[in-house]
């Protein structure tokens, strides 16, 4: 497999997880979570620390990354998000509050890196996680395992939302909080679970991302525009749209850089972040509501000659 495709798949899976988390938090609590940046970085450092202190393959520690991220998400919900939601704060206020949380997490990550550097003589500021990776069928295991992991996680999420009672209740709350409340669904618990899943997905995504890039304390901070771009591309109103958007943004970046640098030369590498942003800008210009705003039913209806909404 071409190296760009291998890394692109890992990166795209990571962005699918993080963008999915951002979308989930937005559709439940109206919050654009800036803290996704540092939550992702935390996920990477959880895995890194386990490898350093215990050893073994990185994949064993991914569940811990998820748990840690979930914990950070729940803390954010109870400490910050819940009081603001009760006050019916504006979207911008909710967004700013998570920025504050992100800055605090970022400073803690930086301090932790300092701590590792001076006490254990490690170099946690530039980590190449690939060197801890296994080999599978002659290629890096991450290329196979991580996309598979993303697919399994997202299918699990899909089953949870579609088949379990609480999952359906979550979908109901997202669509109509008042009616859900009147049916006896505790929206408080729904939001808490959304933060738990969203935070966990962020950290899992961060841990995966570090397998494709150099892990640094500002890894999440640098890639947050792409996480947002993925969520926006997906239209922000559908969880699956966000996941798809994240995956497309990630793959487009690697594919675009590969194709363009073959044509124009390696200088294009410096502008790689322009590709996903351009994709986002073009989508927003044509469909201000993202991928989910594209009238798919109309399009297909026209193709098949059926009218929209007609029941078979």
């Amino acid at each position: 497999m071409a190296p760009w495709l291998a890394n692109g798949l890992i990166y795209a899976s990571a962005l699918a997880l993080t963008a999915g988390g951002i979308t989930l938090l937005y559709i439940t609590t109206r919050t654009f979570n800036f803290a996704h940046a540092s939550m992702a970085t935390v996920g990477f450092y959880v895995v890194y620390s386990f490898i350093i202190f215990i050893g073994g393959s990185p994949y064993r520690y991914f569940p811990f990354a998820f748990l840690f991220g979930a914990l950070l998400g729940v803390i954010c919900y109870y400490g910050l998000n819940r009081p603001l939601l009760k006050r019916q704060a504006s979207e911008i206020t909710l967004m700013m509050s998570t920025l504050g949380y992100d800055l605090i997490l970022l400073s803690l990550i930086q301090m932790y890196c300092d701590f590792l550097t001076s006490n254990y003589k490690l170099f946690p500021r530039r980590v190449n996680m690939n060197m801890y990776d296994l080999e599978l069928f002659g290629i890096n295991a991450a290329t196979i395992i991580l996309p598979l992991m993303a697919i399994i996680c997202l299918s699990a999420l899909h089953l949870f939302l579609g088949k379990t009672k609480f999952g359906v209740a979550m979908k109901a709350t997202i669509e109509n909080p008042v009616l859900a409340g009147a049916s006896g669904i505790n929206s408080d618990r729904v939001y808490m679970v959304a933060w738990l899943i969203g935070g966990g997905m962020a950290s899992l995504g961060g841990a995966a991302m570090a397998m494709a890039q150099t892990g640094t304390p500002v890894m999440g901070m640098n890639s947050i525009p792409f996480m947002f771009a993925g969520a926006i591309l997906g239209g922000l109103h559908s969880l699956y749209g966000g996941i798809l958007g994240g995956f497309m943004v990630g793959l487009a970046e690697y594919a675009g850089v590969f194709l363009l640098s073959q044509k124009f030369g390696p200088w294009i590498l410096g502008y790689r972040m322009g590709i996903p942003l351009l994709l986002m800008a073009i989508t927003l210009l044509i469909f201000p509501r993202g991928l989910a705003g594209i009238p798919w039913a109309d399009l297909f209806g026209r193709l098949t000659g059926k009218k929209r909404g007609v029941q078979a």
Partner: protein, 253 residues
């Protein structure tokens, strides 16, 4: 059963209800009528805790429930069928019914859902369709079915007959009477079809500009020609009406 005392409420900073008093007697149908913008829906929202209550209190079975979270009220046995957004459009009809029975056990909910589909056969036909694809009337029926799923003690019904064809509206209102008589459910109904609602109601409140303009027996409100004409658009007067009470300015015929 439900008492509203001196309620001042609204949305955000906007006050809509002023010093409102209301009493819903148990096992009866209480009808709230009034022109558009009188605050009928706001009254229900205030009871359900989704509007901002500035002062006053709401008692349910002599227990204060003012400003409580909506899901706790559902646990107490209050069921609410909103006017708009009263079904989960993205969920199937079956899931809608199961969500309405969220507080029940699974087997109980299944049994109850079966009863509902028997009561409204049209739902059975579309049981696996998304609720968003139903027609207005079918949706309304699903909403009522969802309200009944919970075995409520008190049902709040907002604009029950809108979107419904007159025959079905009639059927639904008869259903409401049956609920009272057979299941002994207390019902608070906000209605646009004022005349019909007042005919089936026991107690009636006329809401105008956020205050109570009339409180008393429902049948008697129908015999207040001035109020009926001015606020409810009921022109034809009931047959037993004493002719002397017709104001000369009415000028009908």
């Amino acid at each position: 059963m439900l008492t509203v005392r001196n309620l001042n409420s609204g949305y955000g900073k906007l006050q809509i209800l002023y010093n409102l008093d209301l009493e819903v007697p148990a096992k009866g149908i209480t009808v709230v009528v009034g022109p558009n913008g009188a605050g009928k829906t706001t009254l229900l929202s205030s009871i359900m805790g989704t509007a901002n209550v500035f002062s006053g209190e709401v008692l349910f079975e002599d227990e204060p429930i003012t400003g409580q979270q909506t899901h706790l009220l559902a646990r107490k046995g209050i069921s609410y069928v909103p006017q708009m957004g009263n079904v989960f459009a993205e969920l199937s009809v079956m899931d809608n019914l199961h969500m309405a029975g969220y507080l029940m056990s699974k087997s109980e909910a299944r049994l109850k859902a079966e009863q509902m589909t028997e009561m409204f056969p049209v739902l059975k036909k579309f049981i696996h369709r998304k609720a968003g694809t139903l027609s207005g009337g079918e949706r309304r029926m699903l909403a009522v079915a969802m309200g009944l799923m919970k075995n409520p003690k008190l049902m709040l019904l907002d604009e029950l007959s809108t979107d419904l064809a007159p025959i079905i509206a009639e059927k639904v209102l008869l259903e409401v009477i049956r609920l009272r008589d057979e299941l002994g459910i207390t019902i608070l109904i906000v209605e646009q079809m004022a005349k019909r609602a007042l005919e089936i109601g026991d107690t009636a409140y006329l809401l105008v500009s956020g205050g109570v303009k009339y409180a008393g027996k429902a049948s008697e409100l129908l015999h207040e020609p001035e109020l009926c004409n001015l606020y409810l658009g009921i022109k034809q007067l009931p047959k037993q009406q004493d002719n002397t009470r017709i104001p000369s300015s009415e000028g009908r015929g």
